[in-house]
Symmetry: C2
Subunit: 177 residues, 2 copies
């Protein structure tokens, strides 16, 4: 399974592509950041993120795009930009028929470090180890994007089992009513 | 000046096109709402909003798109959807080189009713009167989109004078340093 992880942001939008399945060693295919100038107007920044996202989708053809689920309890100004950048990432994927999965920051941290409250350094260290990299990817947004992709690959089997259980339950209900 | 006003939202995205200049009677060219199903996944809802926005831009060829500026002090879940829908509207406009202007809800209310704290009914009543309509546009999102376009047309001369003053000041500084 090939997953493009996206850590959304207007100034730095982290991108990371990981290939693998749960229970086997994972492979990093690409990592980087799409940047937009802070002094450009919001519309042009969103166009630049769209262009960057399209380039990543063209280059890696992921089967799924995992995006960080945005909450608004954080800094007001930042969260708006994050929500807008994530909208562009989800739009680009869905337009191509690529499924989108959302994971919360604590799900991602828990998946790669074992703790939902791990710090950036810990996430970076585990991403480096799990993908057998020479050094932690920089900036942190790039490492976070890889962590999102890893989180999805590892959580996917459990989510699929859950979906199958729900579907089976529905099918059963359908038969008895 | 032809302005497309957009009242962003995932469930109902209000669209209203107004033609005119400050100080003259205004003309409504079109009004409506782009709807997306609440049970669809977020990526597909954003694709539907993009498609709707493109149709409005194709049909009316506005010179400017006025979008409501989103704040996060409101309901957490709603504000995320609003930010994401507004991102798609701004992206579509900027991709075509159409300038985007943002106005806060209180600027819009003050422009059309004289009070920044006017309620929905008051905004609807004034939009109906200013555009000489037979009845208030429904739903409220459609009326709000028209109010945004009116607000922009009326504020634009003042904003242009301000921009010219700032530019003149910069030019002056450039000459003296």
């Amino acid at each position: 399974m090939r997953v493009l992880g996206v850590d959304p942001g207007l100034t730095r939008c982290g991108m990371g592509v990981v290939d693998g399945v749960a229970g086997r060693p994972l492979t990093m295919l690409g990592v980087g950041v799409v940047r937009t100038p802070a002094d450009a107007d919001i519309g042009h920044r969103l166009v630049a993120i769209e262009r960057g996202m399209e380039e990543w989708l063209d280059a890696y053809r992921p089967e799924l795009v995992a995006v960080e689920r945005v909450f608004s309890q954080h800094n007001v100004r930042t969260v708006m930009g994050t929500a807008q950048a994530s909208a562009v990432a989800m739009l680009c994927a869905s337009r191509r028929g690529i499924p989108v999965a959302l994971h919360t920051p604590s799900e991602v941290k828990a998946a790669v470090t074992g703790s939902g409250r791990a710090d950036k350094a810990q996430v970076g260290a585990m991403v480096t180890r799990l993908l057998r990299l020479a050094a932690p990817p920089k900036p942190a947004d790039a490492a976070d994007a890889l962590a999102l992709a890893i989180c999805h690959i590892w959580r996917a089997p459990a989510q699929n089992r859950l979906q199958q259980a729900v579907a089976a339950q529905h099918a059963l209900k359908g038969r008895t009513t």
